[in-house]
């Protein structure tokens, strides 16, 4: 445990350094800077993978039963997807924006000490699936948020007529909007599946459906908020900046649901 703590601390440092380099690269593109940042990111990725595997080994179960693990897994996913997207789809600057979020999650995870709670009443596969699906949907919503932020930044440049190098590198508004839309399109069904699995798990372990708990209520509300986004987006097409702002608000909903609502819930504790 001590060694994995050390690994996490080092990886947070690496992550911070890499983020600084990515920022420098966003302002003043230099190949060497970009490469160094990528190497550091890879180190962070390896470190996080190591910690996750280590926890898998020590606990003997998939590391999703504590909120610490869940957040680590989430940031691991964001990092993985960002690197893959950066390599294969060449969406410039996505690495910087996605990792700003990933870094925030890791730092919160490593130092906030909220996540030492172990979930009670483990019930095998259904619960694991429930949590995994939830993490996947959160990761997808994170990317929708990241793309929305990139959209707003690019929109600001276009409106204020600031033709800097970041403007040159950021993709077009239409692309960014499409990426955000697709991310939500992925996250939406995952959240639904997670909710259904959660309900089934409740039925199996407690013998009744848990509807009146704050967490399922808040999550349903969140799911409906994203549903409204999808309907509006499908009806009016891309590009209304109001919808992008709505998307950002939805993501704050995700964070509130993730961090705050969990503490009032009987069954989710801090999550």
């Amino acid at each position: 445990m001590l060694s994995s703590r050390l690994v996490i601390d080092i990886s947070v440092l690496c992550y911070a350094a890499s983020l600084v380099l990515l920022f420098v690269d966003a302002i003043q593109p230099r190949r060497a800077v970009n490469r160094t940042a990528l190497v550091l990111l890879f180190l962070v990725f390896v470190a996080e993978t190591f910690v996750l595997l280590h926890r898998l080994q020590t606990s003997g179960a998939v590391p999703v039963y504590t909120s610490f693990d869940v957040m680590l897994l989430l940031s691991w996913l964001i990092l993985l997807v960002a690197v893959v997207v950066n390599t294969f789809f060449r969406i410039d600057l996505v690495l910087f924006f996605a990792n700003a979020l990933g870094f925030a999650i890791v730092v919160f995870d490593a130092f906030a000490h909220v996540g030492r709670v172990v979930y009670t009443a483990r019930q095998g596969d259904v619960l694991v699936l429930h949590i995994t699906c939830a993490i996947l949907s959160y990761a997808a919503f994170s990317f929708a948020f990241v793309f929305s932020i990139m959209y707003l930044v690019q929109d600001k440049f276009l409106r204020e007529k600031r033709w800097n190098r970041m403007y040159l590198r950021l993709p077009s508004l239409e692309r960014l909007d499409t990426y955000a839309f697709r991310s939500i399109l992925v996250g939406f069904p995952f959240l639904l599946i997670a909710m259904i699995l959660g309900a089934i798990w409740g039925k199996l372990t407690l013998g009744r459906f848990l509807f009146m708990d704050p967490k399922p209520l808040a999550t349903t509300l969140l799911w409906m908020m994203y549903g409204v986004y999808l309907i509006l987006r499908l009806r009016s097409g891309w590009g209304t900046s109001k919808l992008i702002w709505y998307n950002v608000i939805c993501f704050t909903g995700v964070i509130v649901n993730f961090v705050v609502i969990g503490s009032f819930s009987l069954f989710h504790h801090t999550l």
């Binding site: 033709w163 040159l168 077009s172 508004l173 239409e174």
Partner: protein, 475 residues
């Protein structure tokens, strides 16, 4: 031995001349064969595109080579060599090499950073090498140049930014709408700027172009040219609601599109992003339009700003490419120097091995009772003596050759190890080596004289220590 290029391009020659000189693919094989049969030109690559015709050659004598290549070009366009010369450039050594690398990476093109030229350079090289017209020097040179060209494309964004006002409008539209296919454009006014912008837009993939003009006939003319649709002036507000991008460049004194008209159109298009580009002076579109939600309004100054930013960006990227070229030139020079020293090293090694085997022979004669295993052991150890003795000299020869880019040391080292020119030639695979360096100098010089001469030469070249030295072929 000289690497040289003779050619003309869009900067030096008018199109009438370029088209007469240019060489089609059909003729290319014959011409390459023709060059192969001469003794003046040792290696050749012919690069001929619509903007340039260039002959890259390795020649024995620079004067004869230049005369020959210039005559070849002037024969093609039936002009006297003197008449053609003002339009030609002739470059030798490192400037020829740098020129090729600039061409391959698009720095020498009409539109800086264009990518087509790299494929043309590659094809020219492959055709020449298939015809057997190239040798080691040009093979390595073109491989290097093509590599640099690829790097320029993948590692920099040179050639991706607009440097004219009308193209800057297209680039802006792309930054909002992404792929322009499937989007509609309304061009208001049928003047020169409108035509230019419509041209850029249609080549960027826009298929539906509406053109509105106060005189309907002019709109029709322009519409015909781009396969667009002419709109009568009265239907302007309807067309406005249909279009995603509006380009306005009328000669009107007042605003053609007021805020009220535009905001009406925005409502009708359900607040979808709307880009208005006003290239007219005085302006056509009321500036307060830019305050509307989801509307992007740009005037001529904004476009100039885009162009300035792009030019600065290109300049930065071109500097990066120039650095790549400088590195590649240095690498090529090192490769040349290495090639120079390779036969020397081979000859030195061969001499060592020869001495060792003669020692083994005499040992066998003197000690006939040695067993197979003992002989094997002795062979191994004597060989090890030879190798250990030669390791440092060989290493230093290589390093000195690369650092000084010189061939002079080869002669000194050869003498030091008692090797004759014949020995060196036996070990050199490439015909170009020693063709000049060893034959020109008088034979029968003592080692002391040679070292004196070498020292004097080193003293004469203070640059040898201060800056990077290139191989003599490139100087």
């Amino acid at each position: 031995m000289h690497i040289m290029v003779v050619g003309l391009n869009h900067k030096t020659a008018p199109v009438e001349l370029r088209e007469r000189v240019s060489i089609s693919d059909v003729e290319l094989d014959d011409i390459l064969n023709q060059f192969r049969q001469t003794r003046t030109v040792l290696e050749i690559v012919v690069l001929s595109t619509c903007n340039r015709t260039e002959l890259y050659a390795v020649v024995n004598s620079s004067r004869a080579g230049e005369d020959f290549l210039v005559r070849f070009l002037s024969d093609r366009c039936h002009t006297a060599p003197d008449g053609l010369k003002p339009h030609l450039y002739v470059k030798y050594g490192h400037s020829a090499v740098t020129h090729l690398m600039k061409v391959a990476s698009g720095l020498d093109s009409m539109v800086i950073g264009e990518t087509q030229i790299l494929g043309q350079v590659r094809n020219a090289f492959l055709t020449a090498s298939d015809a057997g017209a190239t040798g080691a020097l040009l093979n390595q040179l073109f491989r290097k140049a093509i590599h640099v060209g690829k790097r320029a494309q993948t590692e920099t964004t040179i050639g991706q930014s607009a440097v004219s006002v009308s193209y800057a409008a297209v680039q802006l539209a792309k930054k909002v709408f992404g792929d322009l296919r499937g989007h509609r454009v309304l061009v208001v006014g049928a003047g020169k700027m409108s035509r230019l912008t419509a041209q850029h837009l249609s080549s960027a993939g826009i298929e539906q172009i509406y053109i509105a003009n106060r005189t309907y006939e002019k709109a029709e003319d322009l519409a015909e040219e781009f396969g667009g649709v002419a709109i009568s002036w009265d239907n302007l507000s309807d067309a406005l609601a249909e279009a995603d991008i509006v380009i306005s460049s009328t000669g009107s004194k007042g605003y053609v599109l007021s805020e009220a008209v535009v905001s009406e159109a925005v409502k009708r298009r359900h607040h979808k992003p709307f880009m208005l580009i006003d290239i007219a002076v005085p302006r056509d579109i009321e500036p307060s339009v830019s305050g509307l939600r989801n509307v992007y309004l740009y005037d001529i100054d904004d476009l100039e700003g885009v162009v300035a930013a792009n030019l600065a960006e290109r300049q930065r990227q071109a500097e990066v490419v120039e650095r790549m070229i400088a590195t590649a030139l240095q690498e090529y020079s090192e490769w040349l120097s290495e090639q120079e020293v390779v036969p020397l090293i081979a000859a030195v090694r061969a001499k060592g091995t020869a001495i060792q085997s003669s020692v083994m022979e005499s040992l066998k004669r003197k000690l006939p009772d040695l067993t197979e295993r003992e002989l094997e052991l002795i062979h191994k150890h004597t060989m090890s003596i030879v190798n250990q003795l030669l390791r440092d000299p060989v290493q230093n020869m290589k390093e000195l050759a690369i650092a000084s880019g010189g061939t002079e040391h080869v002669r000194v080292f050869a003498q030091l190890f008692g090797l004759t020119d014949e020995d060196l030639r036996k070990h050199s695979k490439e015909s170009w080596l020693f063709a000049g360096a060893l034959e020109n100098e008088g034979e029968a010089k003592g080692f002391t004289d040679l070292v004196k001469q070498w020292r004097n030469q080193l003293l004469r070249e203070p640059s040898a220590q201060s800056k990077v030295t290139l191989h003599p072929v490139l100087r």
